[in-house]
Symmetry: C2
Subunit: 335 residues, 2 copies
């Protein structure tokens, strides 16, 4: 069984005109990026396609919504390459994507704002900014209760030392922290680097733990009651990855029983449908030792346009037979 | 007119036994630092002195409270050296300190936590951490309103590029910001450095402005309506120096009329007497674009002990005829 893509060579690709289907709603400026980047190819926007249009010819699919594209895949017989416009692909069902199709994420395109956000939460918790602001709002001048912590000289463990994690490591070094990294190779520019297998061995050393690792079958539930029990009682845990890296109930119980432990959470276990009320299975926001943001770490001015540019360039790399960035290892996501 | 100190040489000092008076209340651990550092000298704690004790013999005075020591100075005929235990000496009345007395601050001893605190406020404002936390507390999931800002590629102006400012500059470079510095020499490791005279010329370039400059006759009211009007409408101003660097009413009016402008304030114009209600002449805390902390930037775990160590070593440098750190230029504080 041979698919067309398997027979093509890099030079074939450079010359071929490709059919590119783009799912999602885009601003004029964003469409201009797509149209300009793919000026030599056939670009179709799913938003513009009449029912039963010609999207079945698409060889490349650029998409934001898995739920929208999932039912279309079976009819897209020529599909070779799927470019997702988000970094985390854990919501995709890889069992329903034919194995010959390459899937790429846009991991890294928003690494800088996400790393900044993680550090913002870490500093805000260390300095008790929220509590101090609230006290002054009530006219209460309380300088040393709660007492702020200093970052310099402390140890930070960065679980997932990729585009995001390595940036956090760079910030931490500027703040004179000792950097522990957890990655898949066990080597990095950090002071100490271990693989996931070594995680439990370092947890007790860490004053700060940042989760910036993809959610895969290997990392789901990584931070459970056992891992939490190995952390220092006054450690600070930051999650800018995916809620499910942490066992929700275990973290809630730990925060209740360890008031000096704190968590900065940008990602959650439960997301509201549009306009609906946001809530989790446990009342995290009632705890004083939780700082929360609405999964907006990547969302800074211009982030959508940047994602569109980053992904368009990646698709062009595929079309031109160059090495594609962020190819997803599907086996990491299949149970 | 010759004072004893003027006749002494460095080697004399090294051999002399000095009378050191220490004002302030200290923990046992802090007293141990003093006692150990000055084991070859006569140390007296003002707290232990009976009324009309022998403090008139003191040649060195270490103090925390200007109000306590001010009335004693006229009777301390042998006083040569005063070591203040805080960084900012603006609350001292230099006109009542005899001109032959050297005054040193502990500027720099807490530079790291203060720089960290400034950056914590800057990041918290950029990422709208407070608003996002409050929204989630109400069950409202609003990712892009307010929309976070990115630090990378932005310009930060650090007004006062000493121990604190240079650290902030180092953090900012790690965050890929362009660093403007204002200092007294016009040269530094920043991308662009100007003196105070050049301040107005750079204000419009800056996305972030951090005040980390001492309050002197030259800097009081530095940030007034005119300076504020030169800043970008959505600039962020951080003050970890002294409230009076900014004209209180001018900043309040500017924040009201420029809702995209924001201020992170650790220092204030008015401080409460112990236990009294904290309030300013304007209701800053009612504004959504203000983030406030209670002048606690320097106050992290162990800060008092660190200050005691730092100042003790400085006093020892004086006694041993070595170069003293943080000698105050009194003319900067005399109108």
């Amino acid at each position: 069984m041979a698919f067309p893509w398997a027979r093509r060579t890099a030079s074939d690709k450079r010359d071929a005109t490709m059919n590119i289907l783009i799912e999602g709603t885009y601003s004029e400026e964003e469409r201009e990026v797509f149209d300009h980047t793919f000026s030599r190819h056939n670009v179709t926007y799913l938003d513009d396609v009449t029912p039963e249009g010609d999207m079945g010819d698409a060889q490349v699919l650029i998409f934001r919504s898995w739920r929208t594209v999932a039912p279309l895949l079976s009819s897209m017989k020529r599909l070779e390459f799927m470019q997702y416009l988000f970094a985390g692909v854990d919501r995709l069902d890889f069992s329903s994507i034919p194995s010959h199709i390459t899937v790429a994420s846009c991991s890294g395109s928003n690494a800088t704002p996400v790393a900044e956000h993680a550090f913002a939460m870490l500093l805000a918790l260390s300095k008790h900014i929220k509590e101090h602001h609230e006290s002054l709002s009530k006219g209460v001048f309380s300088q040393q209760s709660p007492l702020a912590a200093e970052l310099a000289g402390k140890r930070i463990g960065i679980i997932g030392y990729g585009e995001i994690g390595a940036r956090i490591g760079r910030y931490a070094r500027a703040f004179e922290m000792e950097v522990y990294a957890v990655n898949s190779t066990g080597t990095s520019d950090a002071d100490i680097t271990v693989t996931l297998g070594g995680l439990h061995g370092i947890l007790h050393d860490l004053d700060f733990i940042v989760l910036s690792i993809p959610l895969t079958v290997h990392t789901r539930g990584l931070i459970d009651a056992k891992a939490l029990s190995m952390m220092q009682d006054d450690a600070t845990l930051i999650n800018v990855s995916r809620g499910e890296i942490i066992v929700e109930g275990d973290l809630y119980e730990h925060l209740v029983s360890h008031p000096d432990f704190s968590a900065g959470l940008d990602v959650w276990w439960h997301y509201p449908h549009k306009g609906a009320r946001w809530e989790q299975a446990h009342p995290f926001l009632e705890l004083p030792n939780v700082l929360a943001t609405p999964h907006n770490a990547a969302m800074v001015e211009g982030w959508r346009l940047r994602t569109v540019r980053y992904c368009s360039e990646n698709v062009l790399r595929y079309i031109e037979g160059k090495e594609v960035k962020n190819k997803v290892r599907k086996e990491d996501y299949l149970m």
